[in-house]
Symmetry: C2
Subunit: 269 residues, 2 copies
Protein backbone atom coordinates (compact mmCIF):
# COMPACT_ATOMS: atom_id res chain seq x y z
CA UNK A 1 0.00 0.00 0.00
CA UNK A 2 1.49 3.31 -1.10
CA UNK A 3 0.13 6.81 -0.68
CA UNK A 4 1.32 10.06 -2.18
CA UNK A 5 1.59 12.83 0.40
CA UNK A 6 1.89 16.51 -0.50
CA UNK A 7 3.11 19.20 1.88
CA UNK A 8 1.87 22.46 0.36
CA UNK A 9 2.81 25.83 1.83
CA UNK A 10 3.20 29.47 0.87
CA UNK A 11 6.35 29.57 2.98
CA UNK A 12 9.06 26.99 3.77
CA UNK A 13 6.62 24.16 4.44
CA UNK A 14 8.71 23.04 7.39
CA UNK A 15 5.93 23.40 9.96
CA UNK A 16 3.28 21.70 7.84
CA UNK A 17 5.71 18.85 7.23
CA UNK A 18 6.38 18.40 10.96
CA UNK A 19 2.65 18.52 11.57
CA UNK A 20 1.91 16.01 8.80
CA UNK A 21 4.67 13.63 9.87
CA UNK A 22 3.39 13.57 13.44
CA UNK A 23 0.00 12.37 12.16
CA UNK A 24 1.39 9.98 9.54
CA UNK A 25 3.82 8.40 12.01
CA UNK A 26 0.76 6.95 13.74
CA UNK A 27 0.13 4.72 10.71
CA UNK A 28 2.76 2.04 10.59
CA UNK A 29 3.09 -0.17 7.54
CA UNK A 30 1.84 2.42 5.07
CA UNK A 31 4.46 3.62 2.62
CA UNK A 32 4.19 7.35 2.07
CA UNK A 33 5.67 9.01 -0.99
CA UNK A 34 6.46 12.58 0.09
CA UNK A 35 6.31 15.59 -2.25
CA UNK A 36 7.18 19.04 -0.90
CA UNK A 37 5.69 22.10 -2.54
CA UNK A 38 6.89 25.15 -0.58
CA UNK A 39 6.70 28.82 -1.58
CA UNK A 40 3.40 28.58 -3.49
CA UNK A 41 2.90 32.24 -4.31
CA UNK A 42 0.29 32.61 -7.04
CA UNK A 43 -2.64 31.03 -8.86
CA UNK A 44 -0.49 29.48 -11.53
CA UNK A 45 1.65 27.62 -8.99
CA UNK A 46 -1.43 26.56 -7.03
CA UNK A 47 -3.02 25.14 -10.19
CA UNK A 48 0.19 23.37 -11.10
CA UNK A 49 0.16 21.70 -7.66
CA UNK A 50 -3.43 20.57 -8.25
CA UNK A 51 -2.42 18.99 -11.57
CA UNK A 52 0.50 17.26 -9.90
CA UNK A 53 -1.70 15.93 -7.06
CA UNK A 54 -4.32 14.61 -9.46
CA UNK A 55 -1.71 12.92 -11.65
CA UNK A 56 -0.09 11.29 -8.68
CA UNK A 57 -3.46 9.93 -7.56
CA UNK A 58 -3.90 8.32 -10.96
CA UNK A 59 -0.40 6.83 -10.87
CA UNK A 60 -0.66 5.34 -7.40
CA UNK A 61 -4.35 4.40 -7.69
CA UNK A 62 -5.09 5.92 -4.26
CA UNK A 63 -6.31 9.35 -3.25
CA UNK A 64 -3.29 11.49 -2.29
CA UNK A 65 -3.07 13.10 1.16
CA UNK A 66 -2.52 16.86 1.12
CA UNK A 67 -1.34 18.81 4.17
CA UNK A 68 -1.50 22.52 3.56
CA UNK A 69 -1.03 25.87 5.28
CA UNK A 70 -1.90 28.43 2.63
CA UNK A 71 -2.74 31.76 4.24
CA UNK A 72 -4.29 33.24 1.09
CA UNK A 73 -7.88 31.90 1.05
CA UNK A 74 -8.02 32.07 -2.76
CA UNK A 75 -4.92 29.86 -3.19
CA UNK A 76 -6.20 27.54 -0.45
CA UNK A 77 -9.48 27.16 -2.37
CA UNK A 78 -7.66 26.26 -5.57
CA UNK A 79 -5.61 23.55 -3.86
CA UNK A 80 -8.78 22.13 -2.25
CA UNK A 81 -10.16 21.40 -5.72
CA UNK A 82 -7.62 18.61 -6.13
CA UNK A 83 -8.98 15.09 -5.94
CA UNK A 84 -7.32 14.41 -2.60
CA UNK A 85 -7.80 14.09 1.13
CA UNK A 86 -6.91 17.60 2.34
CA UNK A 87 -5.97 18.65 5.85
CA UNK A 88 -5.56 22.37 6.42
CA UNK A 89 -4.93 23.18 10.05
CA UNK A 90 -4.84 26.93 9.51
CA UNK A 91 -8.30 26.87 8.04
CA UNK A 92 -9.55 24.64 10.82
CA UNK A 93 -8.11 26.46 13.82
CA UNK A 94 -7.62 30.08 12.81
CA UNK A 95 -11.29 31.10 13.05
CA UNK A 96 -11.79 29.62 16.55
CA UNK A 97 -8.56 31.30 17.68
CA UNK A 98 -9.72 34.63 16.24
CA UNK A 99 -12.87 34.30 18.27
CA UNK A 100 -11.01 33.33 21.44
CA UNK A 101 -8.53 36.21 21.13
CA UNK A 102 -11.16 38.66 19.95
CA UNK A 103 -9.11 39.83 17.00
CA UNK A 104 -8.52 39.08 13.35
CA UNK A 105 -5.53 37.04 12.16
CA UNK A 106 -3.04 39.04 10.12
CA UNK A 107 -3.00 36.52 7.27
CA UNK A 108 0.59 37.42 6.44
CA UNK A 109 2.78 34.79 4.88
CA UNK A 110 6.03 33.56 6.34
CA UNK A 111 5.60 34.60 9.95
CA UNK A 112 6.74 31.28 11.36
CA UNK A 113 10.05 30.80 9.65
CA UNK A 114 10.46 34.21 8.09
CA UNK A 115 13.25 36.44 9.34
CA UNK A 116 10.85 39.21 10.38
CA UNK A 117 11.96 38.90 13.97
CA UNK A 118 15.57 40.06 13.73
CA UNK A 119 16.22 39.91 17.49
CA UNK A 120 15.46 36.19 17.47
CA UNK A 121 17.37 35.76 14.24
CA UNK A 122 20.54 37.34 15.59
CA UNK A 123 20.22 35.49 18.88
CA UNK A 124 20.09 32.23 17.00
CA UNK A 125 23.05 32.97 14.73
CA UNK A 126 25.06 34.10 17.77
CA UNK A 127 24.13 30.86 19.54
CA UNK A 128 25.26 28.75 16.56
CA UNK A 129 28.56 30.62 16.32
CA UNK A 130 29.12 30.34 20.06
CA UNK A 131 28.33 26.63 20.02
CA UNK A 132 30.69 25.93 17.11
CA UNK A 133 33.45 27.90 18.85
CA UNK A 134 32.90 25.96 22.09
CA UNK A 135 32.61 22.46 20.65
CA UNK A 136 34.54 19.58 22.18
CA UNK A 137 36.23 21.66 24.88
CA UNK A 138 38.39 23.64 22.45
CA UNK A 139 38.21 26.69 24.69
CA UNK A 140 36.87 27.77 28.07
CA UNK A 141 36.90 31.42 27.01
CA UNK A 142 33.56 33.18 27.67
CA UNK A 143 32.24 30.01 29.25
CA UNK A 144 30.22 32.17 31.64
CA UNK A 145 28.13 33.21 28.61
CA UNK A 146 26.96 29.65 27.98
CA UNK A 147 23.34 28.74 28.67
CA UNK A 148 24.28 25.10 29.04
CA UNK A 149 27.51 23.10 29.15
CA UNK A 150 27.28 19.44 28.14
CA UNK A 151 29.81 16.95 29.45
CA UNK A 152 30.42 13.28 28.78
CA UNK A 153 32.89 10.83 27.27
CA UNK A 154 34.03 11.31 23.69
CA UNK A 155 31.34 10.39 21.08
CA UNK A 156 28.35 10.18 23.40
CA UNK A 157 26.28 12.72 21.43
CA UNK A 158 27.38 16.08 22.85
CA UNK A 159 28.05 17.84 19.53
CA UNK A 160 24.75 17.11 17.71
CA UNK A 161 22.82 17.94 20.88
CA UNK A 162 24.69 21.24 21.36
CA UNK A 163 24.06 22.25 17.75
CA UNK A 164 20.39 21.37 18.02
CA UNK A 165 20.00 23.45 21.20
CA UNK A 166 21.58 26.41 19.39
CA UNK A 167 19.70 25.97 16.11
CA UNK A 168 16.26 25.19 17.51
CA UNK A 169 16.20 27.20 20.73
CA UNK A 170 18.89 29.87 20.28
CA UNK A 171 20.82 28.56 23.29
CA UNK A 172 24.57 28.94 23.67
CA UNK A 173 25.64 25.36 24.26
CA UNK A 174 29.27 24.55 25.03
CA UNK A 175 30.46 20.98 25.39
CA UNK A 176 33.44 19.34 27.05
CA UNK A 177 34.63 15.76 26.78
CA UNK A 178 35.40 13.91 30.00
CA UNK A 179 38.86 12.49 29.42
CA UNK A 180 41.25 10.14 31.29
CA UNK A 181 43.05 13.15 32.84
CA UNK A 182 39.78 14.18 34.50
CA UNK A 183 39.29 10.69 35.91
CA UNK A 184 42.86 10.56 37.23
CA UNK A 185 42.45 13.94 38.88
CA UNK A 186 39.20 12.62 40.32
CA UNK A 187 37.30 15.84 39.76
CA UNK A 188 36.06 18.17 37.04
CA UNK A 189 38.31 20.84 35.54
CA UNK A 190 38.08 24.17 37.35
CA UNK A 191 36.38 25.95 34.42
CA UNK A 192 33.51 23.46 34.64
CA UNK A 193 33.26 23.61 38.44
CA UNK A 194 32.81 27.37 38.12
CA UNK A 195 29.79 26.76 35.84
CA UNK A 196 28.30 23.89 37.79
CA UNK A 197 24.69 25.09 37.53
CA UNK A 198 24.91 24.96 33.73
CA UNK A 199 26.35 21.47 33.52
CA UNK A 200 24.40 18.58 32.08
CA UNK A 201 25.87 15.15 31.50
CA UNK A 202 25.32 12.65 28.72
CA UNK A 203 26.15 9.03 29.09
CA UNK A 204 25.79 6.08 26.75
CA UNK A 205 25.74 2.28 26.80
CA UNK A 206 29.35 1.03 26.45
CA UNK A 207 28.36 -1.36 23.63
CA UNK A 208 26.83 1.46 21.60
CA UNK A 209 29.83 3.70 22.30
CA UNK A 210 32.27 1.02 21.14
CA UNK A 211 30.29 0.66 17.91
CA UNK A 212 30.29 4.42 17.24
CA UNK A 213 33.98 4.78 18.03
CA UNK A 214 34.90 1.79 15.88
CA UNK A 215 33.48 3.58 12.84
CA UNK A 216 36.02 6.33 13.43
CA UNK A 217 39.00 4.30 14.61
CA UNK A 218 38.51 0.60 13.93
CA UNK A 219 40.42 -1.86 16.14
CA UNK A 220 41.76 0.91 18.38
CA UNK A 221 42.19 0.84 22.15
CA UNK A 222 39.94 3.95 22.09
CA UNK A 223 37.07 1.95 20.55
CA UNK A 224 37.56 -1.29 22.50
CA UNK A 225 34.64 -2.42 24.60
CA UNK A 226 36.86 -2.81 27.67
CA UNK A 227 38.00 0.80 27.39
CA UNK A 228 34.50 2.11 26.66
CA UNK A 229 33.15 0.29 29.72
CA UNK A 230 35.82 1.82 31.92
CA UNK A 231 35.37 5.35 30.59
CA UNK A 232 31.60 5.25 30.90
CA UNK A 233 31.77 3.86 34.45
CA UNK A 234 34.25 6.53 35.51
CA UNK A 235 32.29 9.32 33.86
CA UNK A 236 29.05 8.24 35.53
CA UNK A 237 30.85 7.92 38.86
CA UNK A 238 32.22 11.46 38.48
CA UNK A 239 28.85 12.94 37.52
CA UNK A 240 27.25 11.21 40.51
CA UNK A 241 29.86 12.43 42.97
CA UNK A 242 29.68 15.98 41.60
CA UNK A 243 25.87 15.96 41.72
CA UNK A 244 25.39 16.64 38.02
CA UNK A 245 22.15 15.76 36.29
CA UNK A 246 22.59 13.42 33.35
CA UNK A 247 20.77 11.12 30.96
CA UNK A 248 21.58 8.10 28.82
CA UNK A 249 21.60 9.14 25.14
CA UNK A 250 21.77 5.59 23.73
CA UNK A 251 18.14 5.20 22.73
CA UNK A 252 17.09 8.81 22.44
CA UNK A 253 16.77 11.11 19.45
CA UNK A 254 18.55 14.46 19.40
CA UNK A 255 15.18 16.13 19.98
CA UNK A 256 14.42 13.97 23.01
CA UNK A 257 17.79 14.71 24.56
CA UNK A 258 17.45 18.45 23.90
CA UNK A 259 13.88 18.65 25.23
CA UNK A 260 14.92 16.75 28.37
CA UNK A 261 17.83 19.12 29.01
CA UNK A 262 15.55 22.13 28.56
CA UNK A 263 13.15 20.73 31.11
CA UNK A 264 15.77 19.58 33.63
CA UNK A 265 17.75 22.83 33.63
CA UNK A 266 14.54 24.88 33.33
CA UNK A 267 16.10 26.85 30.49
CA UNK A 268 14.21 29.85 29.19
CA UNK A 269 14.27 30.37 25.42
CA UNK B 1 -2.81 42.03 26.57
CA UNK B 2 -1.01 38.89 27.70
CA UNK B 3 -1.95 35.28 27.23
CA UNK B 4 -0.45 32.18 28.77
CA UNK B 5 0.22 29.47 26.20
CA UNK B 6 0.92 25.84 27.14
CA UNK B 7 2.51 23.32 24.80
CA UNK B 8 1.62 19.94 26.28
CA UNK B 9 2.98 16.71 24.85
CA UNK B 10 3.74 13.12 25.81
CA UNK B 11 6.96 13.38 23.80
CA UNK B 12 9.38 16.27 23.10
CA UNK B 13 6.65 18.81 22.34
CA UNK B 14 8.69 20.17 19.45
CA UNK B 15 6.04 19.48 16.81
CA UNK B 16 3.15 20.87 18.84
CA UNK B 17 5.22 23.97 19.53
CA UNK B 18 5.94 24.53 15.82
CA UNK B 19 2.28 23.98 15.08
CA UNK B 20 1.17 26.37 17.82
CA UNK B 21 3.66 29.06 16.84
CA UNK B 22 2.49 28.98 13.23
CA UNK B 23 -1.04 29.78 14.42
CA UNK B 24 -0.03 32.30 17.08
CA UNK B 25 2.27 34.16 14.69
CA UNK B 26 -0.88 35.24 12.86
CA UNK B 27 -1.86 37.37 15.86
CA UNK B 28 0.44 40.34 16.06
CA UNK B 29 0.43 42.57 19.11
CA UNK B 30 -0.59 39.83 21.54
CA UNK B 31 2.08 38.93 24.06
CA UNK B 32 2.23 35.20 24.62
CA UNK B 33 3.80 33.73 27.71
CA UNK B 34 5.03 30.28 26.67
CA UNK B 35 5.16 27.27 29.00
CA UNK B 36 6.45 23.94 27.70
CA UNK B 37 5.28 20.72 29.31
CA UNK B 38 6.86 17.85 27.38
CA UNK B 39 7.08 14.16 28.38
CA UNK B 40 3.73 14.03 30.19
CA UNK B 41 3.63 10.33 30.99
CA UNK B 42 0.99 9.66 33.65
CA UNK B 43 -2.17 10.88 35.35
CA UNK B 44 -0.29 12.67 38.08
CA UNK B 45 1.69 14.77 35.62
CA UNK B 46 -1.43 15.47 33.57
CA UNK B 47 -3.27 16.69 36.67
CA UNK B 48 -0.30 18.81 37.67
CA UNK B 49 -0.45 20.47 34.23
CA UNK B 50 -4.15 21.17 34.71
CA UNK B 51 -3.43 22.86 38.05
CA UNK B 52 -0.67 24.91 36.47
CA UNK B 53 -2.94 25.99 33.58
CA UNK B 54 -5.76 26.98 35.90
CA UNK B 55 -3.42 28.96 38.16
CA UNK B 56 -1.91 30.79 35.23
CA UNK B 57 -5.39 31.73 34.00
CA UNK B 58 -6.11 33.27 37.39
CA UNK B 59 -2.81 35.16 37.40
CA UNK B 60 -3.14 36.64 33.91
CA UNK B 61 -6.90 37.11 34.09
CA UNK B 62 -7.37 35.54 30.65
CA UNK B 63 -8.15 31.99 29.62
CA UNK B 64 -4.87 30.23 28.74
CA UNK B 65 -4.35 28.65 25.32
CA UNK B 66 -3.35 24.99 25.36
CA UNK B 67 -1.88 23.19 22.37
CA UNK B 68 -1.63 19.50 22.98
CA UNK B 69 -0.71 16.23 21.28
CA UNK B 70 -1.36 13.59 23.90
CA UNK B 71 -1.76 10.19 22.26
CA UNK B 72 -3.24 8.53 25.36
CA UNK B 73 -6.96 9.44 25.29
CA UNK B 74 -7.17 9.25 29.07
CA UNK B 75 -4.38 11.80 29.61
CA UNK B 76 -5.84 13.97 26.84
CA UNK B 77 -9.19 13.95 28.65
CA UNK B 78 -7.60 15.05 31.90
CA UNK B 79 -5.83 17.99 30.26
CA UNK B 80 -9.07 19.03 28.56
CA UNK B 81 -10.64 19.55 31.98
CA UNK B 82 -8.46 22.64 32.46
CA UNK B 83 -10.22 25.98 32.21
CA UNK B 84 -8.54 26.86 28.92
CA UNK B 85 -8.92 27.13 25.17
CA UNK B 86 -7.60 23.75 24.01
CA UNK B 87 -6.43 22.83 20.53
CA UNK B 88 -5.58 19.19 19.98
CA UNK B 89 -4.74 18.48 16.37
CA UNK B 90 -4.22 14.75 16.93
CA UNK B 91 -7.72 14.38 18.30
CA UNK B 92 -9.14 16.47 15.48
CA UNK B 93 -7.42 14.85 12.53
CA UNK B 94 -6.53 11.31 13.56
CA UNK B 95 -10.05 9.86 13.20
CA UNK B 96 -10.61 11.28 9.69
CA UNK B 97 -7.18 9.98 8.67
CA UNK B 98 -7.99 6.54 10.07
CA UNK B 99 -11.09 6.50 7.94
CA UNK B 100 -9.25 7.68 4.84
CA UNK B 101 -6.47 5.13 5.23
CA UNK B 102 -8.84 2.36 6.30
CA UNK B 103 -6.77 1.45 9.33
CA UNK B 104 -6.35 2.26 13.01
CA UNK B 105 -3.67 4.62 14.28
CA UNK B 106 -1.03 2.92 16.39
CA UNK B 107 -1.38 5.42 19.25
CA UNK B 108 2.26 4.92 20.19
CA UNK B 109 4.10 7.79 21.80
CA UNK B 110 7.25 9.37 20.44
CA UNK B 111 7.03 8.30 16.80
CA UNK B 112 7.81 11.76 15.44
CA UNK B 113 11.02 12.60 17.23
CA UNK B 114 11.75 9.25 18.78
CA UNK B 115 14.83 7.37 17.66
CA UNK B 116 12.85 4.33 16.60
CA UNK B 117 14.00 4.77 13.04
CA UNK B 118 17.71 4.07 13.40
CA UNK B 119 18.45 4.29 9.67
CA UNK B 120 17.27 7.89 9.63
CA UNK B 121 19.01 8.54 12.92
CA UNK B 122 22.39 7.35 11.68
CA UNK B 123 21.95 9.16 8.38
CA UNK B 124 21.39 12.38 10.25
CA UNK B 125 24.35 11.97 12.61
CA UNK B 126 26.56 11.09 9.64
CA UNK B 127 25.33 14.21 7.85
CA UNK B 128 26.10 16.44 10.86
CA UNK B 129 29.58 14.97 11.21
CA UNK B 130 30.23 15.32 7.48
CA UNK B 131 29.00 18.91 7.49
CA UNK B 132 31.18 19.87 10.46
CA UNK B 133 34.20 18.25 8.82
CA UNK B 134 33.51 20.11 5.56
CA UNK B 135 32.78 23.55 6.98
CA UNK B 136 34.41 26.63 5.53
CA UNK B 137 36.41 24.79 2.87
CA UNK B 138 38.70 23.06 5.37
CA UNK B 139 38.95 20.02 3.12
CA UNK B 140 37.87 18.80 -0.30
CA UNK B 141 38.29 15.19 0.77
CA UNK B 142 35.22 13.04 0.00
CA UNK B 143 33.56 16.04 -1.62
CA UNK B 144 31.89 13.66 -4.06
CA UNK B 145 29.86 12.35 -1.11
CA UNK B 146 28.25 15.76 -0.51
CA UNK B 147 24.58 16.24 -1.31
CA UNK B 148 25.09 19.97 -1.66
CA UNK B 149 28.07 22.34 -1.66
CA UNK B 150 27.37 25.94 -0.67
CA UNK B 151 29.63 28.71 -1.90
CA UNK B 152 29.79 32.44 -1.21
CA UNK B 153 31.90 35.16 0.38
CA UNK B 154 32.97 34.82 4.01
CA UNK B 155 30.11 35.40 6.54
CA UNK B 156 27.19 35.27 4.11
CA UNK B 157 25.37 32.48 6.00
CA UNK B 158 26.89 29.28 4.62
CA UNK B 159 27.66 27.61 7.96
CA UNK B 160 24.24 27.93 9.66
CA UNK B 161 22.52 26.88 6.43
CA UNK B 162 24.79 23.84 6.02
CA UNK B 163 24.17 22.76 9.61
CA UNK B 164 20.43 23.20 9.22
CA UNK B 165 20.38 21.09 6.04
CA UNK B 166 22.25 18.34 7.90
CA UNK B 167 20.23 18.55 11.11
CA UNK B 168 16.75 18.91 9.61
CA UNK B 169 17.05 16.92 6.39
CA UNK B 170 20.03 14.59 6.91
CA UNK B 171 21.87 16.12 3.96
CA UNK B 172 25.65 16.17 3.72
CA UNK B 173 26.33 19.86 3.16
CA UNK B 174 29.85 21.09 2.50
CA UNK B 175 30.62 24.78 2.19
CA UNK B 176 33.44 26.76 0.63
CA UNK B 177 34.20 30.46 0.94
CA UNK B 178 34.84 32.39 -2.27
CA UNK B 179 38.10 34.22 -1.57
CA UNK B 180 40.28 36.84 -3.36
CA UNK B 181 42.43 34.05 -4.85
CA UNK B 182 39.38 32.65 -6.62
CA UNK B 183 38.52 36.07 -8.04
CA UNK B 184 42.11 36.61 -9.26
CA UNK B 185 42.15 33.20 -10.90
CA UNK B 186 38.80 34.12 -12.45
CA UNK B 187 37.28 30.72 -11.96
CA UNK B 188 36.24 28.27 -9.28
CA UNK B 189 38.72 25.87 -7.72
CA UNK B 190 38.94 22.54 -9.53
CA UNK B 191 37.37 20.58 -6.66
CA UNK B 192 34.23 22.70 -6.97
CA UNK B 193 34.12 22.53 -10.76
CA UNK B 194 34.11 18.74 -10.46
CA UNK B 195 30.98 18.99 -8.28
CA UNK B 196 29.22 21.66 -10.28
CA UNK B 197 25.77 20.06 -10.14
CA UNK B 198 25.85 20.19 -6.33
CA UNK B 199 26.87 23.82 -6.07
CA UNK B 200 24.54 26.45 -4.70
CA UNK B 201 25.57 30.06 -4.10
CA UNK B 202 24.65 32.45 -1.31
CA UNK B 203 25.05 36.16 -1.67
CA UNK B 204 24.28 39.04 0.67
CA UNK B 205 23.78 42.80 0.61
CA UNK B 206 27.19 44.48 1.08
CA UNK B 207 25.83 46.72 3.87
CA UNK B 208 24.57 43.72 5.85
CA UNK B 209 27.84 41.87 5.24
CA UNK B 210 29.91 44.82 6.48
CA UNK B 211 27.79 44.92 9.63
CA UNK B 212 28.21 41.19 10.31
CA UNK B 213 31.95 41.25 9.65
CA UNK B 214 32.44 44.33 11.84
CA UNK B 215 31.14 42.37 14.82
CA UNK B 216 34.00 39.94 14.31
CA UNK B 217 36.75 42.32 13.25
CA UNK B 218 35.82 45.95 13.90
CA UNK B 219 37.53 48.62 11.75
CA UNK B 220 39.24 46.03 9.56
CA UNK B 221 39.78 46.15 5.83
CA UNK B 222 37.91 42.81 5.78
CA UNK B 223 34.78 44.47 7.23
CA UNK B 224 34.94 47.73 5.30
CA UNK B 225 31.97 48.51 3.10
CA UNK B 226 34.23 49.16 0.10
CA UNK B 227 35.79 45.72 0.42
CA UNK B 228 32.45 44.00 1.05
CA UNK B 229 30.99 45.64 -2.08
CA UNK B 230 33.90 44.45 -4.19
CA UNK B 231 33.84 40.90 -2.86
CA UNK B 232 30.07 40.56 -3.29
CA UNK B 233 30.20 41.96 -6.85
CA UNK B 234 33.02 39.60 -7.83
CA UNK B 235 31.35 36.60 -6.23
CA UNK B 236 28.07 37.29 -8.01
CA UNK B 237 29.93 37.80 -11.27
CA UNK B 238 31.67 34.47 -10.86
CA UNK B 239 28.46 32.61 -10.01
CA UNK B 240 26.78 34.13 -13.06
CA UNK B 241 29.61 33.23 -15.42
CA UNK B 242 29.79 29.69 -14.05
CA UNK B 243 26.02 29.26 -14.30
CA UNK B 244 25.50 28.52 -10.61
CA UNK B 245 22.13 29.01 -8.98
CA UNK B 246 22.17 31.37 -6.03
CA UNK B 247 20.02 33.46 -3.71
CA UNK B 248 20.40 36.54 -1.55
CA UNK B 249 20.41 35.51 2.13
CA UNK B 250 20.12 39.06 3.55
CA UNK B 251 16.43 38.99 4.41
CA UNK B 252 15.82 35.29 4.67
CA UNK B 253 15.68 32.96 7.64
CA UNK B 254 17.82 29.83 7.75
CA UNK B 255 14.69 27.79 7.08
CA UNK B 256 13.79 29.85 4.01
CA UNK B 257 17.29 29.52 2.57
CA UNK B 258 17.36 25.77 3.24
CA UNK B 259 13.88 25.15 1.79
CA UNK B 260 14.79 27.16 -1.33
CA UNK B 261 17.99 25.15 -1.85
CA UNK B 262 16.05 21.90 -1.48
CA UNK B 263 13.59 23.01 -4.12
CA UNK B 264 16.15 24.47 -6.55
CA UNK B 265 18.50 21.47 -6.48
CA UNK B 266 15.54 19.06 -6.26
CA UNK B 267 17.23 17.29 -3.38
CA UNK B 268 15.67 14.07 -2.13
CA UNK B 269 15.64 13.58 1.62
Amino acid sequence: MKRAVFFVSDSTGITVEAFGHSLLSQFEGVEFDIVRRPFIADEEEAREVVTRITESGKTTGARPLVFTTLIDPHLAEIVQTADAFCISYMERFLAPLEEELGMKASHTVGNTHGSTNSVNYNKRIDAINYTLAHDDGVTDRDLNEADVVLIGVSRCGKTPTSLYLAMQFGLKAANFPLIPEDFERGRLPECLRLNRDKLFGLTIEPERLAQIRAERRPNSQYASLVNCRQEVAKAEQMMKSEGIRWLDSSRKSIEEIAATILRELQLQT
